[in-house]
Symmetry: C2
Subunit: 331 residues, 2 copies
């Protein structure tokens, strides 16, 4: 396998300490490549970066119409949220709306990603619940699919359950190619994750942004899901997070979502372009640095948008005493 | 720059998710290479992996003799400790021994690396002090150098201070080549870190293990420092850490020390071999996986030693619910 290029490097003093290789692609809905580096045909696990694609099962199953799901609920279904009050309350409401409760979630519990939320739980002597799991909104969406399909919700996270069959089908429709049992793993929140080429994910996000190449109902739903996410960016991630700040700054023009192990996906909606990237070694900070540089270059940022992106495009490394000792930057 | 080989990979399900490139070298004291991969002439920041080399300034300055430093104090000087009671008490004693106190440390404060130690501080409503900094033992050693040299301890962490000049000289003596201002950065604990080739560090550790190529006083001191570290492995790292467990298991045969951003160095003492490795992307878990595989292959482990190494040579990846979803392993 050819080595992907070094895309991000981290300096210390006057010398490069770490190097991060990877691949990225920006393409239109026909798959025409606007910009790319590295091997974009090599399958990668997209992890949480494609939650908005997975959410399309809420259309194909009829869940969105059946329950009259709100934009806030759709945004939470696309979220890797930080367990702040607004997220926990939103997911609690979502579950109640579909006649279920926290105990029906099969994502497991972990501490909130948000520091203040962690401290608040600790101060009250409380353990985190499934509601605090960053994926609880997506799981609520998947439970709405189960309810719309009229199937038992039990074990809805397993590969063969009708919910995951519907999610897989929705993703295959959007990326335009089959997913394979030969490239499948279990995600952090216990649902399946399927590896596919970066080029397929980028084209899929461009299709979602434009509706091109998609059945009409899916195209329409994709547009609504992107609108919901970009209108409620705080619900999709959390206070201070790149995804939230970028979507706030771009006011609907950019859909942006990170996934574990160095994945970033999204769309520059007004241009009709989708993008996907993966840092080979899984470094998240490097993936954020890379996507910020890509958006600076290709999303025509105004001054305010540029200011947000520049905070992530060159990230200072500080030591224990707070001294600036290096930086992560585009190589 | 040619790409280093993929040495470690992390799977998810039945597919590789992350790839970690890097270089390693195992050599004797003359620099004859026993085994190597990747570019071992490319300078890397050794970070905390060479604390035992830096500790040699305690010989050249006369600090060891002047204060009659104990083996426990020498082990702490080589340590990236976890802020457990034994470490905090040991460093407190060390500082008192040389007529100084916690306020003289210029390493900054951070939470203890050990989870129980963090919880204990929190339960008492206490903030961590400089004593909990993993480098506080090394800094105590550096303060002993300042005292032995009869210089003001203030700003002993800066590049031009007599302490850091002595530390730099000691490292240059052991690795057999000059360090350069062109490849210098500031470490997490605010002292300088100097980049040099992996081959130089590996040969340096072999020299320390054998005394070959070193002035007699430094050779003798190196032997005593390695004895101190391998006799008190808990002081050098912490409960459950690879460095501690490996040195406990090998009973003096192996000196092993990790450094930040994917560095591992050490010596297979009875063979007279030193080793050094760096994961290009700085991933610590990958560096531990790699060093465990190297020691399995080259350190002639018995059954007990093998059992310890195998826990690190193939590390399971678990998700939020504790399911085994992948593994990190040698590529």
């Amino acid at each position: 396998m050819d080595a992907n290029p070094i895309l991000i490097e981290q300096t210390r003093g006057n010398f490069v300490e770490n190097r991060h290789r990877g691949a990225f692609v920006l393409s239109d809905a026909e798959g025409n490549v606007i910009a790319a580096a590295g091997d974009i045909s090599r399958p990668v696990f997209p992890r949480s970066a494609i939650k908005s694609m997975q959410a399309l099962a809420m259309v194909t199953s009829g869940a969105i119409n059946r329950f009259g799901l709100s934009d806030e609920e759709l945004a939470l279904a696309c979220a890797s949220h930080h367990g702040e009050d607004v997220h926990v309350e939103g997911v609690t409401h979502f579950l109640g709306h579909i006649g279920l409760a926290a105990g029906d979630l099969e994502c497991g519990a972990h501490q909130p990603s948000n520091g203040k939320a962690r401290e608040a739980l600790r101060a009250h002597g409380l353990e985190p619940s499934q509601l605090h799991n960053n994926c609880s909104g997506k799981h609520s969406g998947m439970l709405s699919v189960a309810r719309a399909l009229g199937v038992d919700t039990h074990d809805y996270v397993t590969r063969g359950h009708p919910v995951q069959v519907a999610v897989r089908k929705a993703v295959e429709t959007v990326i335009g190619e089959p997913l394979s049992e030969d490239r499948c793993g279990t995600d952090g929140c216990s649902i399946p994750t399927w590896a596919a080429p970066l080029s397929a994910f980028a084209r899929g996000f461009a299709r979602m942004a434009t509706g091109i190449g998609l059945p009409e109902d899916i195209g329409g739903a994709a547009s609504r899901i992107f609108d919901a996410a970009t209108t409620h960016p705080l619900l999709v991630a959390g206070s201070g997070h790149l995804d939230t700040l970028v979507m706030e700054a771009f006011g609907g023009r950019v859909m942006q979502k990170g996934g574990a192990e160095g994945v970033q996906c999204g769309a520059i909606r007004d241009k009709g372009w989708g993008y996907a990237l993966k840092i080979d070694d899984g470094n998240m900070l490097a993936s954020q640095t890379l996507v910020a540089n890509l958006l600076l270059r290709f999303a025509d940022p105004d001054a305010g948008q540029r200011a947000v992106l520049e905070k992530f495009a060159r990230q200072l490394v500080r030591n224990v005493r707070g001294f600036e000792v290096g930086e992560m930057r585009a190589a």
